[in-house]
């Protein structure tokens, strides 16, 4: 299995889309630095307003609200967009092409004709996709933080102010810089798991089609329709909301509030992930063992 995973990673590492990802990330960072710099004062006003409503002790802890708008906050802010919008697209690209591309190029037939385990082939591919997503999540998180620190510095106290779950109010709190960094990476790891569950839809589609673009687009449509439904009709879809693919990202914002993580919500999110993982990996396993090539 380890050899299979290694081979899958080698295959993925050779692809040209890594350049596209890096260019996309660089473009996002340029925009985010500009946006953060432009609206820094507005953040300052907002955090200042929050401090005014706090106790005298808290006011002593945060004498200059402007300092709260530092590089770490930039990283947290940027990663919200990175992990909600940009990374799902990359994840769909990798997962979507995993099997479809091999069918398209004929390498799947070459591989299967040797009598190797098809179940192992699918599982190895899925794990490889997860590892690549995890790698990029950690890399982008580190680079985002680095860019934030270089441009906007670091202050001792951090305000954990986030957009939160779409359709719900933002959450806020004060933590130390160390805790903020720990929660930032915890959220990043969580996000990689969530991305893996989200992209599993494309992974499943990829066994049915011979075009990578179809599989990736199928997953993207599924994800963004779920997201729009969650944002626009959160009340009306209350019954099915726990099973929407976007539900798995709920735990992402939770991870930032390191002192008060709602573990019940996290467990529910992982449960939904498990459902998607099971269905979206089992289906290709069955299909590959039954389908004729």
């Amino acid at each position: 299995m380890i050899l299979s995973i290694y081979h899958e990673i080698v295959k993925m590492a050779s692809q040209k889309k890594h350049y596209i990802m890096l260019i996309g990330f660089a473009f996002l960072m340029v925009l985010m630095v500009f946006v953060y710099w432009k609206f820094q004062n507005r953040f300052s006003d907002m955090t200042g307003g929050m401090v005014n409503g706090m106790s005298p002790l808290m006011k002593m802890m945060v004498p200059d609200p402007m300092k709260l708008c530092d590089g770490l906050m930039f990283a947290r802010f940027s990663c919200q967009i990175l992990f909600w919008v940009v990374m799902p697209i990359f994840a769909f690209m990798f997962a979507g092409e995993s099997i479809a591309c091999e069918q398209q190029d004929g390498t799947l037939r070459a591989y299967l004709s040797r009598g190797f385990s098809r179940t192992q082939f699918v599982i190895a591919k899925f794990i490889a996709v997860f590892l690549v997503i995890l790698f990029y999540s950690m890399l982008f998180a580190a680079l985002t933080m680095l860019i934030g620190i270089v441009f906007f510095g670091v202050s001792k106290m951090q305000i954990t102010l986030f957009m939160g779950i779409p359709g719900e109010f933002p959450t806020a709190g004060l933590v130390s810089a160390k805790k903020a960094i720990a929660s930032y990476y915890l959220a990043t790891v969580y996000s990689a798991f969530a991305m893996s569950a989200i992209s599993s839809v494309s992974f499943m589609i990829s066994v049915f089609v011979k075009r990578m673009t179809v599989a990736a687009t199928g997953g993207l449509v599924f994800f963004f329709v779920s997201l729009i439904m969650q944002l626009a009709f959160s009340d009306l879809i209350e019954d099915i909301r726990p099973f929407l693919i976007t539900r798995v990202m709920d735990g992402y914002s939770q991870m930032f509030t390191i002192d008060a993580v709602n573990w019940d919500s996290i467990i529910k999110s992982f449960s939904v992930m498990c459902i998607y993982w099971s269905v979206c990996v089992a289906t290709p396993v069955v299909m590959l063992n039954v389908k004729e090539y």
């Binding site: 081979h7 080698v10 295959k11 190029d105 037939r109 299967l112 004709s113 040797r114 090539y293």
Partner: protein
């Protein structure tokens, strides 16, 4: 232990109403270079897909070294290298990486074998190059190397000379022909290029409408109803003499329209020497006596029910 590497018994495979294989049966002896020829849609690729477990037969059995491919695909396909359809590789990986991934080979012994085989197939200097840079001929060589890795004793090559230029065809032909003698490998080759099959293979099977129309050693197959071309003085009298002497042993005899004076004699068995002796004894001057070229093509056309200029001439 079976003397046959591959045995196909009454295999039937349908796609909807179309029956791609209709009770096909064949056996491939160990150490042979076995060719399967057939017109487009005859079922060659379907047969290869079933042999390599890429497709499943509706009925019938396929065994490799006595092991049922349907029941134990992993065990049966161990030691088989197959290139079904055109050779497919990961274009952005090097040739070496492609070999490692597609053969799942590891370890020092594998590396040594890889080096040895790539030297043999002539791609040793290209193992660190990306497959994207390879010509079709190089890809075919790489495909043959892959089929031989890690320790294949039976290699299946689907149309290995397809799309190659003449020098590439000669190279690949020589390479395949030497696999049996140099490495002791049994090779199964499919092609619609009859000349290639005739030059490469020791045994053949002719597949038509999903059935094996003929199979066996090449020479044995070609000995069936051989055609001898004879240029003799007084061809009308010579024709009458041969008819009278050989009777039913001659299937057909006539003078060829495009080369006047040449008799085309189709016989039950190879008997060119006897024909010559009969004519010479009776005082005919025989200035040419040869087997008709493209024997495999003629047999193929005959067995597959296709018409050609020659056949039309014989039948008329």
């Amino acid at each position: 232990m079976s003397d046959y590497v591959l045995t196909v018994e009454n295999v039937v495979k349908s796609f909807g109403k179309f029956r791609a294989l209709d009770g096909a049966s064949l056996s491939i002896p160990k150490g042979t270079i076995f060719g399967i020829i057939g017109p487009n849609g005859a079922g060659k690729s379907t047969l290869l897909r079933i042999v390599t477990s890429l497709a499943h037969p509706d009925s019938g059995h396929v065994t490799v070294n006595g092991i049922d491919v349907e029941a134990y695909p992993k065990k049966a396909l161990k030691g088989i290298g197959a290139i079904v359809d055109s050779p497919a590789f990961y274009p952005d990986l090097t040739a070496g990486q492609n070999l490692d991934i597609l053969s799942r080979g590891t370890g020092k012994r594998y590396k040594a074998r890889r080096e040895e085989l790539s030297e043999y197939t002539g791609i040793a200097g290209w193992l660190n190059h990306r497959v994207r840079e390879f010509s079709l001929g190089m890809k075919q060589r790489l495909a043959i190397t892959l089929a031989l890795l890690p320790d294949s004793h039976f290699v299946i090559l689907d149309e290995p000379t397809n799309g190659l230029d003449p020098s590439g065809i000669v190279d690949i032909r020589n390479l395949i022909r030497n696999l049996g003698t140099d490495l002791g490998t049994t090779v199964l080759v499919t092609s619609h290029m009859l000349g290639e099959i005739e030059k490469i293979c020791s045994n053949i099977a002719i597949l038509n409408h999903g059935k094996i129309a003929a199979q066996g050693p090449m020479e044995e197959i070609l000995r069936r109803s051989p055609v001898t071309l004879i240029r003799a003085s007084e061809p009308d009298r010579a024709e009458a003499l041969l008819k009278e002497t050989f009777g039913t042993r001659i299937f057909s005899i006539r003078q060829m329209d495009d080369t006047p004076g040449v008799l085309r004699v189709e016989t039950e068995f190879e008997c060119a020497a006897e024909l010559n002796e009969t004519l010479v004894k009776k005082g005919f001057a025989v200035s040419m006596l040869e087997n008709e070229p493209d024997r495999l093509e003629r047999l193929f056309l005959e067995l597959t029910g296709k018409e050609s200029g020659v056949r039309n001439e014989v039948k008329s």
